[in-house]
């Protein structure tokens, strides 16, 4: 039992389950899943569909934060990806052409790789502080997206494009994409030395460089990867709504993503990171959003409620806080802390 509790994903998972259960009295059929119109339908399915973009962005953000950086431009990158894809599709005579949609997707993702390269270049080559370097694209990127859409919302009526953010094999397509992304990331970071290198760059960039780690190259790679995932998230969001809204797509998602990463147990100081934790963190935030909608909180109180829950979640996440909270109830003195810290080898590959 104590091993389960001490697992680094225990608290995020427990919080998520608690939040889901909290919905039950308000929505008795909260856990019900039906098949409607040939696809799965239910609150949990909605959480997955609407939460996928945040999960993907949080995954990319995890690696960036692990190297001691931060990427504020993910929301703008999302907007650019959606805008480019919809712009291209809307110019086609046949919007339902699979080929055209594939080209649109490739175009959008290629642009995102370039944007990631730009961020990485600023941070790793020029040496700009990550928060400033990515702030440039956060501001300018939305302008670029607006230029692409001309300030209007582009609506597309393309069935193949709608699949990306919709359903495949009756399940939300996002589930497959997230699974693929998580498996790929776990394989790359936990089965090869890449994860270790990322953590070492985050721990001490200069020392890693002196030890022979190509710190700059690792940094550029994680920014590209983050932008790529943000691009996929942007495509999913835009496909889900069948439109490109340069002004609102991915607005403020960078903050939610950073929060998801932190809730998932990755410290902002860099070094260690938890992929499964970030997925859980993103799911917690999306569930919280759904909870606010279902339990009938007046909209003026949304932010206060959200903030209160987030503060509680962060406190529960803190081992120090838990120890202080439990101290009065404990007869024996708590076991020395270092013992718990040593269980953090990157062996747990559960997600």
């Amino acid at each position: 039992m104590s091993r389960v509790v001490r697992h680094h994903l225990f608290w995020p998972a427990a919080i998520l389950i608690a939040l889901l259960l909290f919905n039950l009295p308000f929505t008795p059929n909260f856990f019900a899943i039906h098949v409607r119109n040939g696809h799965l339908y239910g609150s949990l399915v909605s959480i997955l569909i609407f939460g996928t973009p945040l999960i993907l962005v949080a995954l990319g953000m995890t690696l960036v934060i692990a190297t001691g950086g931060i990427d504020l431009s993910v929301g703008a990158v999302m907007a650019i990806a959606g805008a480019l894809a919809c712009w291209y599709i809307s110019r086609q005579p046949d919007q339902n052409s699979v080929g055209a949609v594939l080209i649109a997707v490739a175009l959008a993702l290629a642009a995102c790789v370039l944007l990631g390269l730009w961020n990485g270049f600023l941070v790793a080559r020029i040496g700009v502080q990550p928060i400033i370097a990515t702030l440039v694209l956060m501001v300018a990127g939305r302008g670029i997206a607006q230029l692409i859409t001309g300030g209007f919302i582009i609506t597309v009526l393309s069935k193949p494009y709608a699949t990306i953010g919709g359903y495949a094999f009756t399940a939300p397509t996002g589930v497959f994409i997230v699974t693929l992304a998580v498996v790929a990331m776990l394989a790359l970071t936990r089965r090869t030395a890449l994860g270790l290198l990322v953590e070492s760059v985050g721990g001490n960039s200069e020392a890693s460089r002196l030890a022979g780690v190509r710190a700059r190259r690792i940094k550029i790679m994680v920014y590209i990867f983050c932008a790529l995932l943000a691009g996929i998230a942007g495509l999913m969001n835009s496909s889900n709504l069948s439109d490109a809204d340069a002004n609102h797509a991915g607005l403020w998602i960078e903050l939610d993503a950073i929060l998801a990463v932190v809730i998932g147990g990755t410290p902002l100081t860099g070094g260690r990171f938890s992929i499964g934790g970030s997925v859980l963190g993103a799911l917690i935030l999306q569930t919280l959003k759904t909870t606010i909608f279902t339990i009938g909180i007046p909209s003026q109180a949304n932010m206060v409620f959200e903030a209160a829950v987030v503060i509680i979640v962060c406190l529960i996440q803190s081992p120090d806080f838990r120890r202080r909270l439990m101290a009065p109830f404990r007869s024996a003195p708590p076991p020395p802390a270092p013992a718990a810290v040593s269980t953090q080898e990157p062996v747990e590959v559960s997600s």
């Binding site: 929505t27 119109n37 909605s46 001309g150 300030g151 069948s242 759904t290 339990i295 003026q300």
Partner: protein, 329 residues
């Protein structure tokens, strides 16, 4: 499609021209020497380009100025009050004939409005109100959001005509605290309290005026309140998002759940023509001609109404197909 693209490139060209004109600060006073009638110069500061509605609003002002032969100096404040104040000060320095702007926020305009008054330049507000003293500005050209809410409620009466049974309304509110959101809600409630005590709002939440917001909130509503059979959305975009969620839930928008919204954007009319939205109360961004009219009148020494309300119409699904080709935004 073609007309929209033409409109876009026109807007881009006009924006470029506007920027150039705003950069060259020295030309304006000499423009009066052309004899006969003096060309009017209007300095206009737009909020930004945050929505399709706003883009349509911008094009309308530019097109109407060109049509009326008014020299327009246009600047985009990009949602920042300091940019807008700077633009207004520039216009004062350039001695334009009239200044007009859509205030980003309602407070904090006293100083710059007094500067304009000292320079004897009349100020006309568009779209939104300010809380400064009324003698600092001449007139407001814009919509009455509360009336829009009332009109939406009356449209719902029409839509529900002949229907029996409980009326369980879900409301998708605009951005919390914004004037359109609070005033549209107030207008709707006024009509409801006065003549429809049987209508019941079972769920109400903000969708931030976006499709994404409307879709997510509606998806949650449909599981927690399966009894919903009417949707009132504070704008079309949220209604469009909600339609997708209603379909995903296996219900038919417009039939199983009646939908009334406000705005009248092009995509809203497409959905209405398809029977997915039952009625739309228009909120007209095309106030350019009324603004130019007001500019001419104020320079001719005529007194203006304090609030020139934009001309707006109500549409039900039956009108949608006929009105669709004329929708510009």
């Amino acid at each position: 499609m073609i007309s929209r693209r033409a409109l876009l490139s026109g807007a881009v060209a006009a924006a470029a021209a506007g920027t150039l004109a705003a950069c060259g600060k020295k030309e304006s006073p000499s423009s009066s020497s052309s004899g006969g009638t003096k060309q009017i110069t209007l300095g206009f500061s737009q909020v930004g380009s945050e929505s399709g509605w706003r883009s349509a609003n911008t094009s309308s002002v530019k097109d109407a100025a060109a049509a009326a032969g008014i020299n327009l100096k246009f600047s985009d404040a990009q949602q920042k009050q300091e940019n807008q104040i700077q633009a207004i000060r520039d216009y004062i320095a350039q001695k334009v004939d009239v200044i007009s702007f859509s205030p980003v926020v309602s407070s904090g305009w006293d100083t710059v409005l007094k500067e304009a008054q000292a320079a004897k330049i009349p100020v006309i507000l568009t779209d939104r109100q300010v809380d400064s003293s009324q003698d600092l500005w001449v007139s407001l050209v814009g919509s009455d959001f509360e009336i829009e809410g009332e009109r939406a409620a009356h449209l719902l009466e029409k839509v529900l005509q002949g229907a029996t049974g409980a009326v369980n309304i879900a409301v998708l509110e605009g951005t919390t605290g914004s004037a359109p959101a609070t005033q549209r809600a107030a207008g709707f409630k006024k009509v409801m309290d006065a003549s429809h005590p049987d209508w019941k709002i079972v769920a109400s939440q903000t969708g931030d005026f976006t499709r994404d917001g409307g879709k997510q909130v509606m998806a949650a509503f449909l599981t927690s309140h399966p009894e919903i059979n009417v949707l009132f959305a504070h704008n079309d975009d949220m209604a469009l998002g909600a339609i997708q969620s209603i379909q995903a839930a296996g219900k038919k928008p417009g039939t199983d759940i009646k939908i009334v919204s406000i705005d009248g954007v092009h995509d809203g009319f497409v959905a209405m023509a398809a029977g997915q939205i039952n009625a739309i109360a228009e909120c007209n961004p095309l106030l350019g001609p009324q603004l130019m009219d007001a500019v001419k009148k104020v320079l001719a020494g005529q007194t203006l109404e304090k609030w020139i309300k934009t001309q707006e119409a109500d549409f039900v699904a039956a009108d949608a197909a006929a009105a669709l080709p004329n929708r510009k935004y």
